[in-house]
Amino acid sequence: MTAQPSGHPSGAAGFLHRFEGLRARLPGARLGFVDALRGEAAEAFRQQGFPTRRVEAWKYTDLRPLAAAGFDEPLTAVDSAPDLPPAHGAARAVFVDGRFREDLSALDGLPYAARSLAETLPGLAGRLGGLARIDAQPMVALNTMLFEDGLVVTVPAGVAGGVLDLVSVATASERPEAFHPRHLIRLGAGASLTLIETATGPAKARYLHNPVYEIEVAAGAALTHAQLQQEGDAGFQLSTVYARVDEGGTYDNFTLNAGARLVRNEIHAILAGPKAACHMNGAQLLQDGQHADTTTVLDHAAPDCASRQTYKTVLAGRSRGVFQGKIHVHQIAQRTDGYQMNQALLLSPEAEIDSKPQLEIYADDVKCSHGATVGEIDAEQLFYLRSRGIPEARARALLVEAFLKEAIEGVQDETARGALDAAVTGWWQRQERAA
């Protein structure tokens, strides 16, 4: 696809067209390394375009509705104060339409640095783009080309950072808007942080939230990262996380997909040092015509590392769920312990689930397994509950909760787990009210 010269071209061409127009005004335009990176990303995006289903990694997620939408960048900042989701801790960074809002944030007096990316760009040479891959990931190339802001967190060695809320709110606007925040999180040796990201947006608003995370967890550090995706029902979210974990470090990710018309949550974790660990858990709660895709790639690139993944998808209405999860064990990664389970529960005859777990193993002394199940609510269990006097709707709800429990209980951090529980319960209450 190439940029068209006139009007408001849509799809990849539209984004490239706007990049050409905006390039000199984007943050960091005068910083050589930033502008060069954007140029490379634009070239990569030009070559790849929006991925089609012919690309193996996008086999089950069709981006045509997104490509057809024709987005604008939110050039004028909103200064009203939109409703914010409840806070989980004292510290919070708030982004409205992808822009950092100091007035709504609370980042003072923290034992670590948390600042707007736009303001800290000059000091990010070598760190920005250090993990993200523009060559193989068109959505990452798009983000790199057009990012305007983001959150930069640096927790010094040995510091316990506590809980940090990262809030992203989209506002309604006349034309569909797109924002591409870039968040950089770095934990020094032995440091810890719980990052709880909540993404929301208004009903019926069409927008694209396309965040990219570059996360570095140094030796012995521990990051808990909860992503509570509750975007508006016409919104698109395409999120890509890159996490690198060094020796003895832990990266604990939980993703909730409960909102958006179309969401793809992609996580690439690299266990780069011995005895590093990664836990990935997730729940997808889908209804109507929602499409949710969780794609994980776990690279075991060092010996003695462990990874655990548990993903659960509940599908109602005409929704469609996708899970793709690859465990890649490099030859050096002896004594790897890798486990992955993904399960789907179909509540509707019109729903569809596609699942592609994958093992790619080049070391022999490993213990790797994956499992996948798809099914409906167990008739015997349902009957048992009803025979004890529980009404059918409640019995179903109990069984769905039980189904999700395993994924939520896998989350170590209590605050994060509480946030998840609340989000899941909220989803259920909305379901029951609608029914």
Partner: protein
Amino acid sequence: MPAVTETIDTVQSVTEGAYKWGFETDIEMEFAPKGLNEDIVRFISRKKNEPAWLLDWRLKAFAMWQKIEEPRWPAVSYPPIDYQDAYYYAAPKQTVKPRSLDEVDPELLKTYAKLGIPLKEQAILAGVEGAGETPSEGGRMPVAVDAVFDSVSVATTFKARLEKEGIIFCSISEAVQNHPELVRQYLGTVVPQGDNFYAALNSAVFTDGSFVYIPKGVRCPMELSTYFRINAKSTGQFERTLIIADEGSTVSYLEGCTAPMRDENQLHAAVVELVALDDATIKYSTVQNWYPGDAEGRGGIYNFVTKRAQCRGRRSKVSWTQVETGSAITWKYPSCVLLGDDSVGEFYSVAITNNRQQADTGTKMIHVGKRTTSTIVSKGISAGRGQNTYRGLVRVAPTAGSARNFTQCDSLLIGDQCGAHTVPYIENRCMTAKVEHEATTSRIAEDQLFYCRQRGLSEEDAVGLIVNGFCREVLKELPMEFAVEAQKLLQISLEGSVG
């Protein structure tokens, strides 16, 4: 040095000559000119005295083939194949069917002897009329054999006996002459000409293969078997097998294959189509032992095969069992399309890759009918520098109410230079369906080896025993005679470079 490493080293040293079937038969052959074009397709069709509709069918396939791209998605790598640098027709020059053993080309006889086929069967294979009519000694169930030597079927045994039951078992060339209506009705209905690159190629140039028709209500009284042998240099083998099990019938079919050791790679692109009607059962077993190439990866067969079954009838059943030990590269996915309500598909597979072998194999189970069930059991063993991929698709259509699938994929790694990969696809659009998939990866543990050795087993025997145990669920699906062969073959295949 840990025991496993030591074993690997020991066994790596005996690689040379591990392939016992690697000899070449010096026999007078007839070839078509090298290369592939419409004239070659016409040449083959003329040589086989085919009706016009079949020539048209081939030419259509050839036209499709020219437009299809060679698949690049399998996890295998090989240099580009020059499709113009091969012979597409090669046959032993034997025009008159021999009447006694003395008339059979002695080189052909020697070939069968070397392949370890007993004397009596040898007479059968060489096409001596009448030899197959005597029941074999020891009261064992006789096996009817169709032997395909390079491009043509050289003999089919027990034909008369089978005809008494109304069973047709012959080469597909003969079927085209004698049962054209059946061939025309079913050919290409399971695997259409343009299905994929290799199927299109096969449809254009297929030279022979087996044809089986089991009439209504008949239980085939013996195992049917085809023995494939590639012998000539620079030839591809493109056989086409078509098996039709009519209502209420049952058949068990076996397939075996070998080839000489050569430095060049040879292409084997077969198509197998199975049709099972109401209440029919087809059991299809393969022991694939094409030449795998040497320890450095020189030579060996490229085995690019399309095998598919349609369970068209209610309660029909197709069971694929494969033991894949040979070939430099294996690319095959024996599949079941479960159309009839309550139909059943099964896939049991053992695939070994040793030295530099690559295998990308698995199955597709397509559930369309109600209450259809499928079972997949795949055992991959990687050794040496082998790369072994299981790739499978389970698709459940909205119409397949209460469909069930269970998949178990296990990989065993022997040594740290090999790879084991699992790529299952699950696509479910039916609420009441239940799909379960499990995959594990393991290696032979030091303590298992030591335990066996403490009881007096040599390391090699211990590994053989453990590997056979690992494959047991699949091997038990093979017919008895084949199972014993397969077990030995597993051990021999591992000798090449494993512990």
